[in-house]
């Protein structure tokens, strides 16, 4: 630990190598209140203090005892702006009603992993956030002991107050917060016993709830500064095209239009994540005074594009994926002798599954504000990987990294789309070019036609079983454009003696990337449909077959490296079996079950559907979830419900098709998503009561429901559903 001598109370820095991966307890530099509506915190019933005392980068305490907690990670709808501060508040031992939460800006000195992705915020923040709160509490106790001239261990805290029971004294944190801020940061602090928790596990409402229901300007799309210009871009209609020329003179004459010019972003050498997502780097930029003048100019635009690489279409993708399944053999894992066992006299079933490209369709299309000059950049908006984008901006414009300032707004949805930041780079490039602050907005059509799509996938499953109802061999072979879908060490790896996992990938000029629960969002549905069909062929209840396999993986696992805990997996399945009264029959109701593990959490689901005029209606979905200790039960349920609806929507309707390189669905008139009338009538979610460390929930609720739905549809129609979106087969 090092302590830097302070100049005054508001400008010193403390650094501590606290537990939890090099986590930094830094001093918050003059976090001034401003009149900007986005930065102004919502005080609600809390009174504003005269003076703030910063105890560390995550919290400051007002002289009236009110606490501001800075939420480090970007808020994308996963509710970490509520749940991460809850963890700090718990260990600080403060009454939640005295807490104000503010979004921290990107600051790699003070915070680690300011990322929204992989459902990891809570899991990776669990220890460091608790330590932050506990350390601040300890400093308050030390300051109080000094003030009252008593021993620290004679003091206790409760709900933001310090008590010295022996002398019957008490005071709120605000009284000693100033003195506490001057103390050296203690290296070792004691964390609470979970049985004493008053905030964690209790259910706290979204801290931005009131801002959202009153229409406060909390999203990037709402950001505004005096003198700011508006910009839109027109990318090539098809992937693999270059810009030749356009009616520049005509556009420049249009009312409200300030300029129109070609953009060629230097994408080569970008970080691989951005480069992969950035296959349409050429565009026409239009800058104007208002969004409507830009939308009209886009309609008036005529561009000549030249073709660089041959345009792809959906038939070509289908053929490519089939060829990959038939022609190659890229083995990821092999246990036992699968080829030999498959050649024996056993019953073998083999099935193939497919799913198309998917756009993310965040409710708010891509947007970002940028103000870039020769030596500094200011960027405001919705971004899942702010640090990566800030680094790219610094590199692209040769600006020192410390001069690139990123503020993270609430995101109007992300689902992986806002990891990539290509629109952020475009905004920065435009701002630099026009030498003015600018807000770049994608239209819905721009957003859907210029995505970083979920790859198109196929997978083939094959299993062999004997007359004693034992699965003896299992083969999974996947293919994707681009990137295959197979996780070699996930279930059923470890539960079957002879196992083979293979995966193939084909290149494409279409941008692809992470889409909520990458790979799992396809493979879970396929695998769980196959297991269902396998159970039927073996004359076993589908839950019983899974439990039989988990039993094997738990007691005598095959192979060294299996990514899951078979007992936790079995537990969620048993829980959903009991809660849904699996095995009971209701006339007209058709049920399916599935379970999947991803992003460190376990989810089992039962879906009940009916058929009305040959259209499936989801009556109810039960979810049993093991995500370790639940931080915020109501928020946790909301995440699972959202995953369920996204999964059902994707499985029934989702799909982006290409003709001549061009996406065929570019707005909600042609791209169907689940709406109120199709949504499940009821979703009931149960969490396993456990003291395991908390894990994420943004993604794990989505993948298995696709399998459970497919299995329920089979019960309803007598037909198996192999190809997403299922509505195509239902209608056809």
């Amino acid at each position: 630990m090092s302590k830097i001598t302070h100049v005054n109370r508001r400008s010193f820095i403390k650094v501590s190598a606290a537990t939890g991966g090099g986590f930094v307890l830094g001093f918050s530099l003059l976090s001034a209140c401003t009149s900007d509506p986005i930065k102004e915190p919502f005080y609600g019933e809390v009174s504003k203090p005269e003076q703030w005392n910063e105890l560390n980068a995550f919290l400051k305490i007002g002289d009236n005892g009110v606490v501001t907690i800075f939420s480090p990670n970007p808020e994308i709808g996963q509710n970490i702006k509520t749940s991460m501060p809850m963890i700090i508040a718990e260990e600080l031992d403060i009454d939640w009603k005295d807490v104000i939460v503010e979004q921290a800006p990107l600051d790699t000195e003070k915070y680690t992993r300011q990322v929204a992705g992989g459902s990891q915020s809570i899991r990776q923040g669990w220890t460091s956030l608790r330590t932050t709160g506990a350390t601040a509490r300890q400093m308050l106790l030390m300051a109080a002991a000094d003030k009252w001239s008593v021993a620290v261990d004679e003091l206790r805290t409760s709900d933001g107050k310090i008590y010295h029971d022996i002398s019957n004294k008490e005071m709120h944190y605000g009284i000693v917060a100033g003195a506490a801020a001057l103390l050296e940061v203690p290296e070792n602090v004691t964390l609470k016993d979970p049985k004493d928790y008053t905030i964690i596990g209790k259910g706290i409402r979204n801290v931005d709830g009131k801002a959202i229901v009153t229409g406060a300007p909390v999203f990037g799309m709402d950001y505004h500064e005096e003198g700011m210009k508006y910009a839109m871009v027109e990318h090539a209609p098809s992937f693999g095209m270059s810009l030749q020329d356009f009616n520049q003179a005509e556009l420049r004459q249009m009312p409200g239009i300030l300029d129109a010019f070609p953009m060629t972003l230097p994408v080569e050498g970008l970080h691989r994540i951005t480069e992969k997502a950035f296959k349409k780097n050429e565009a026409v930029v239009i800058v104007g005074n208002s969004t409507w003048s830009l939308l009209k100019a886009k309609k008036a635009l005529t561009v000549n594009w030249s073709i660089n690489t041959s345009p792809e279409d959906s038939n070509m993708h289908e053929a490519t994926l089939s060829a990959l399944l038939n022609e190659h053999d890229n083995t990821l894992r092999k246990d036992g002798e699968p080829e030999r066992v498959f050649s024996q006299d056993l019953t073998v079933i083999e099935r193939e599954y497919s799913a198309p490209f998917l756009p993310h369709n965040t409710m708010s299309p891509m947007n970002f504000f940028a103000d870039v000059s020769e030596d500094k950049a200011r960027l405001v908006g919705p971004i899942q990987l702010p640090e990566l984008s800030a680094g790219l901006v610094a590199d692209m414009f040769s600006i020192p990294k410390e001069n690139v300032h990123v503020e993270m707004t609430r995101m109007g949805g992300g689902f992986g789309r806002r990891l990539y930041g290509n629109w952020l780079l475009e905004a920065a490039w435009i701002s630099k070019h026009i030498q003015a602050p600018v807000k770049l907005i994608y239209s819905r059509e721009d957003d859907m036609a210029n995505g970083t799509y979920r790859p198109a996938y196929k997978v083939r499953y094959k299993a062999a079983f004997d007359n004693n109802k034992n699965v003896l061999a299992f083969h999974v072979k996947g293919a994707g454009i681009h990137g295959g879908p197979v996780f070699a060490n996930r279930f059923p790896a470890g539960s079957i003696d002879n196992y083979l996992a293979q995966d193939e990938s084909a290149a494409s000029n279409i941008s692809t990337g992470a889409w909520r629960a990458p790979k799992s969002n396809f493979i879970a549905g396929a695998e769980q449909s196959f297991i269902d069909e396998l159970a039927e062929a073996m004359d076993l209840d589908p839950i019983d077959l899974r439990l039989q396999l988990f039993e094997k993986a738990a007691t005598s696992p095959v192979g060294e490296e299996n990514d899951y805990d078979a007992n936790r997996y079995a537990n969620v399945l048993k829980e959903v079996k009991q809660k849904s009264a699996w095995g009971s029959e209701t006339p007209g109701i058709y049920r399916g079950v599935a379970a999947y593990y991803c992003h460190n959490s376990y989810v089992a689901q039962v879906v009940d559907i009916t058929l009305e005029n040959e259209t499936p209606r989801v009556k109810k979905v039960w979810s049993a979830v093991d995500c370790g200790r639940v931080i915020n039960p109501e928020g946790a349920k909301n995440q699972i419900e959202g995953g369920v609806i996204d999964g059902l929507s994707t499985a029934l309707y989702g799909g982006l098709t290409f003709e001549n390189g061009t996406p065929q669905q570019t707005n909600f008139d042609r791209y169907q998503v689940m709406r109120h009338l199709d949504a499940p009538e009821e979703i009931e979610t149960f969490f396993i009561n456990t003291s395991e460390e908390p894990t994420g929930l943004g993604e794990p609720g989505l993948p298995p429901v696709i399998g459970a739905l497919a299995n329920a549809l089979y019960k309803a129609t007598g037909k198996r559903y192999y190809d997403q979106p299922f509505m195509n087969s239902l209608l056809g």
Partner: protein, 152 residues
């Protein structure tokens, strides 16, 4: 360009815009009212829902020239302090995930309850079907509307 006097949330606002400008962009770009959201621009998603003389409408598809004297209510004007019963019910049910679609959802719900104070489930789903929520908060929205219909 043409000048219009618009009745927005109980006060008169003068704007000078092209006559085909959709109300959505008048509100957002010229009146600093950002609660009405852009989602699709073709009246398919409901994120821009506002009230025109109490009727839920999609602001992205109404040119400013057609508004005349009709009274515009946006999410900012639904209540003085965020205490309209639909807003309270949204908080009570902790509806929002990302929150982007919710002002449109709330405006559709408020119009529904004005028209039909005790809607049944089918009426709720049907009235709300034009409002997409990509985060999938539909069951919470429907529960919040049921709660709001029981509030004073």
């Amino acid at each position: 360009m043409a000048k219009y006097s618009l009745h927005i949330n109980g006060s008169l606002k003068e704007v000078d815009v092209a006559e085909d400008t959709p109300l959505l962009w008048v509100l957002r770009d010229h009146c600093s009212l950002y609660g009405t959201k852009y989602g699709c621009g073709i009246a398919q998603c409901g994120a821009c829902t506002i009230h025109l003389d109490g009727v839920a409408m999609r602001a992205c598809s109404i040119p400013v020239s057609q508004i005349g004297d009709q009274k515009i209510t946006t999410i900012e004007g639904l209540s003085q302090d965020g205490t309209h019963k639909v807003q309270r019910a949204w908080i009570e049910h902790d509806v929002a995930q990302c929150g982007y679609c919710q002002s449109g959802q709330i405006m559709s719900a408020a119009a529904l309850l004005e028209d039909n104070p005790s809607p049944n489930d089918a009426e709720i789903r049907s009235a709300m079907n034009g409002n997409i929520c990509r985060c999938g908060t539909y069951t919470r929205i429907q529960a919040a509307i049921r709660s709001a219909s029981n509030m004073k």
